[in-house]
Symmetry: C2
Subunit: 159 residues, 2 copies
């Protein structure tokens, strides 16, 4: 993971990919979003989705899991080099969440993050706001996107 000052406009994070199986789609929907088109292939076929479709929250939660796994790998690499590890803070909010196309059973979403902005906090000297554009692709077609904002640590000033 990086300090706020280290994010450059060309920063890109390839977060990895996830294949949404029918079993996972139904299990997530049972817990959080039990609508027919997320629970049953025939109901999905009959809906505007045109097939058994993952809940939008499921597509978002898989982003979160991959983002954190990415973050943990970066933190471990930094710790292995004996460096101080930046630890991200809370998120004040997310914007412009869009489910542009259904994610159907068996499809694989490739997740990527790019920089939206990185600016110091006006009120907390140790913190800034990191804003990232988060994208999900199926077969190179954008199916999911949102803009995240997270409280992000600034590089400590040497004493």
């Amino acid at each position: 993971m990086m300090w706020l000052e280290e994010f450059t406009p060309e920063w890109v994070a390839e977060l990895g990919a996830h294949t949404f199986t029918a079993e996972e789609i139904v299990a997530f929907a049972r817990d959080w979003d039990p609508q027919p088109f997320h629970l049953d292939e025939a109901a999905g076929q009959a809906s505007l989705f045109g097939g058994l479709a993952a809940s939008g929250w499921h597509v978002a939660c898989e982003w979160m899991a991959l983002w954190i796994a990415h973050q943990n790998r970066e933190m471990e690499a930094r710790a292995a080099r004996g460096e101080v590890v930046p630890v991200p803070g809370p998120s004040p909010g997310f914007d412009d969440m869009r489910w542009l196309k259904p994610v159907l059973a068996g499809q694989t979403v490739v997740y990527r993050a790019t920089l939206h902005s990185a600016r110091p906090s006006a009120t907390r000297p140790a913190w800034g706001i990191l804003s990232t554009d988060n994208l999900g692709f199926v077969d190179d077609e954008l199916v999911f996107r949102f803009t995240a904002r997270v409280m992000w640590p600034r590089r400590p000033v040497a004493p």
Copy 2:
């Protein structure tokens, strides 16, 4: 559930309440958002959250579960009256998701939905876009909000 035309500006849906136990917070975080302040009381205390805090996605997913339960109750009531039941469609996206205050272990969030707008689709005659403002309160203080947009069925025209 209602047809698009039946939503009036004063429409309010009391969706119910959910108490976020430490066990649930940790279980959700393990699956989707394994950050220290969502997994461990001491780490939460040491963070900007000030305690073991629910993942923002957890607060959102509980909204979804309560929204669907509310929707199902309304659909069953309509079916019990022998009426045609409107079945909602997919969501194109959500906006302005804000986690205004942490939701800490043991706290209860009361969820409410109000009308943002209800307008016919420009391209699909049978559908409109229902937009709702969704709010979560702890002890009458707003802690969570976002604006949802969902494809919503219009009242069928009598043949």
